[in-house]
């Protein structure tokens, strides 16, 4: 009885309480995150075959020289760069326009633009896959048909595949990123603009010298999530091509390659090596970010 109360006292002490509070995270972190990463690094040096698992050195990292892997890496990087290039300026401009004093029905438009974010990637994939169908009657072919082009085989040519992927990306995330920028804009004090007006600045100058610099924290955040979203893109391509095989690997990404090796071809060692490479890229990007911005995106000022 006495022992229990001592334990209770210990548990309830102000020193121990914080550890109890953060325990769920620590447990999840150690069990699922840290364990998985360590396990992955070990597996990347192994030939994983059930009971006959053996260490084979850096053999698995030969994948780095494989043409398909390089292509998937290039695809991921290209997708990331272009999606960042699209998903930062466009939502920023939309937010600035929507935030303008002359705009009516702001809330309605804001909501409408947000709706695609509510849909699952599966639903989005189904719609876009069909919209970009090869049939003459599919929606996109009707659209280009109106300009006397087509019908096109959208999902089997690199150029149009990228178009479709960026369409999905824009469609799903413009509203969300715009929301980030809208909330960023709320933080900019109104009097700054008034001062600028008095100084005779036009709208363009205000945008350039006040809005964009003051939105920097938001931009850093949006950039961060866009980079990681872009590098880990898989589901969109998976849905668009109804599986992980796209014609000539036009839509194969880093995660797609990881999935293919690990879950279809029974090459767990190679898949782990891809995971390690992926992790390294993510960490390097983080370091660069830290350097450039001096702070982690999303961390308090």
């Amino acid at each position: 009885m006495k022992k229990e109360s001592a334990f209770k006292k210990f548990l309830y002490s102000q020193k121990v309480a914080p550890y109890v509070f953060i325990a769920p995270f620590v447990i999840t972190f150690l069990v699922f995150f840290a364990y998985s990463i360590v396990n992955m690094i070990i597996m990347s040096f192994q030939n994983v075959a059930g009971a006959n698992t053996s260490f084979i050195g850096v053999e698995n990292y030969r994948i780095l020289k494989n043409a398909v892997f390089i292509k998937s890496l290039k695809n991921s990087i290209f997708y990331t760069i272009v999606s960042c290039a699209l998903m930062i300026p466009l939502p920023m401009i939309l937010a600035a326009l929507l935030n303008s004093k002359n705009m009516r029905a702001k809330a309605t438009f804001r909501s409408i633009l947000f709706v695609p974010a509510l849909t699952s990637v599966v639903v989005a994939g189904v719609v876009f896959r069909l919209m970009f169908g090869e049939l003459e009657g599919s929606f996109m072919n009707q659209v280009v048909g109106a300009f006397g082009v087509g019908p096109l085989v959208w999902l089997r040519r690199p150029g149009t595949v990228w178009l479709a992927l960026f369409f999905i990306c824009l469609w799903r995330w413009t509203g969300v990123n715009m929301m980030y920028y809208l909330s960023g804009l709320q933080q900019i004090p109104e009097d700054l603009y008034e001062c600028a007006s008095i100084d005779g600045a036009n709208s363009w100058q205000k945008m350039l010298y006040i809005t964009i610099p003051l939105l920097k924290p938001t931009t850093i955040y949006v950039l961060t999530i866009s980079i990681f979203g872009g590098m880990s893109m898989f589901s969109e391509s998976f849905m668009l091509f109804n599986g992980n095989n796209s014609p000539n690997n036009v839509g194969t990404t880093l995660v797609g390659m990881l999935y293919r090796m690990g879950f279809t071809q029974n090459q767990l060692g190679i898949a782990s090596a891809i995971g390690v490479v992926f992790l390294a890229i993510v960490l390097v990007v983080n370091l660069i970010q830290l350097r450039v911005n001096g702070t982690l995106g999303g961390k308090e000022q």
């Binding site: 509070f21 953060i22 069990v31 992955m40 002359n102 980030y180």
Partner: protein, 278 residues
């Protein structure tokens, strides 16, 4: 000047109307197509041409007839979403509270870990995590889907941010009144955190409801899969079941759409919470 403003305003309005139409177009296509038979889709493609005279709700009837697993998936998704949201909110709030209100040894290290998890896309550890879940015999169980994702860094971050506005003297006052550490959390903090629970609940609800890749990997029994995975399984190399797919896709958006319409403000708060505050 006023006139110029008015023209500007009309232009803006027109511009946003066009943007809104483009945004809603894919969903409208889906809705229109759900009134046509699936075989039409296969033959003519997805477009707006519809013969209103022959439009019907047959696909929805098929959906509701119960001759398919659609509502089983729906139910699975609902259950998982509700449980995951409840647990994730509670656990992440605890952790966020711990970080915000206490000074303790190892706090910085622990917080860097939070950031680390936040920065590494979950796809990186897909494979080892899957093997781990298999070893834990959680394959084909909804706990397998939820367990690794019950403590969400993004939520921790938000709650920590939210709570850091509350002064610590307040806590000391409660202690003087005889409240235990946990009593403070449950009796004082949780009521204070209600609005943030709403925002984060919606954020997490959206994530859980729409989650695809991880549930697809963890569950392989057709009666245990979640809605997005189920919908995807209707597309197969051996013929696609468009009748249920299209109507089912439409119906899958509805609950979240209703939620959105009702609780817009929280949605937006939830989504932008990760962004930079001031």
């Amino acid at each position: 000047m006023v006139r110029k403003n008015r023209i500007y305003s009309v232009c803006l309005f027109i511009f946003f109307t066009i943007v809104a139409i483009i945004t809603l177009l894919p969903l409208a296509l889906l809705a229109v197509s759900s009134l046509r038979p699936g075989s039409d889709l296969m033959r003519y493609g997805l477009n707006f041409s519809i013969d209103w005279a022959s439009a019907n709700l047959n696909e929805y009837k098929m959906l509701f007839s119960g001759q398919n697993a659609y509502f089983t998936w729906y139910k699975n998704s609902l259950i998982i979403t509700v449980i995951q949201v409840a647990l994730a909110l509670f656990l992440s709030a605890c952790v966020g509270y711990g970080f915000a209100m206490y000074e303790f040894k190892g706090k910085n290290v622990a917080f860097v870990c939070v950031l680390l998890v936040m920065m590494v896309p979950t796809e990186v550890i897909l494979l080892p995590l899957y093997r781990l879940i298999t070893k834990m015999k959680l394959i084909n169980s909804m706990w397998g889907i939820m367990l690794p994702y019950l403590v969400i860094p993004m939520l921790i971050f938000f709650f920590r941010q939210y709570l850091s506005g509350i002064s610590k003297e307040f806590l000391d006052a409660a202690r003087v009144d005889g409240c235990t550490e946990y009593g403070i959390f449950f009796k004082i903090m949780v009521p204070l955190m209600k609005p943030s629970f709403a925002a984060m609940g919606i954020y997490q609800g959206m994530q859980s409801w729409n989650n695809f890749l991880w549930p697809m990997i963890v569950i392989n029994k057709i009666d245990k899969i979640t809605l997005p995975v189920g919908l995807q399984s209707l597309l197969s190399p051996y013929g696609n079941n468009y009748d249920i797919l299209i109507a089912g896709s439409c119906f899958a958006i509805i609950p979240i759409l209703i939620l959105f319409v009702c609780f817009q403000r929280y949605f937006i708060e939830g989504m932008t919470a990760g962004g930079v505050k001031g």
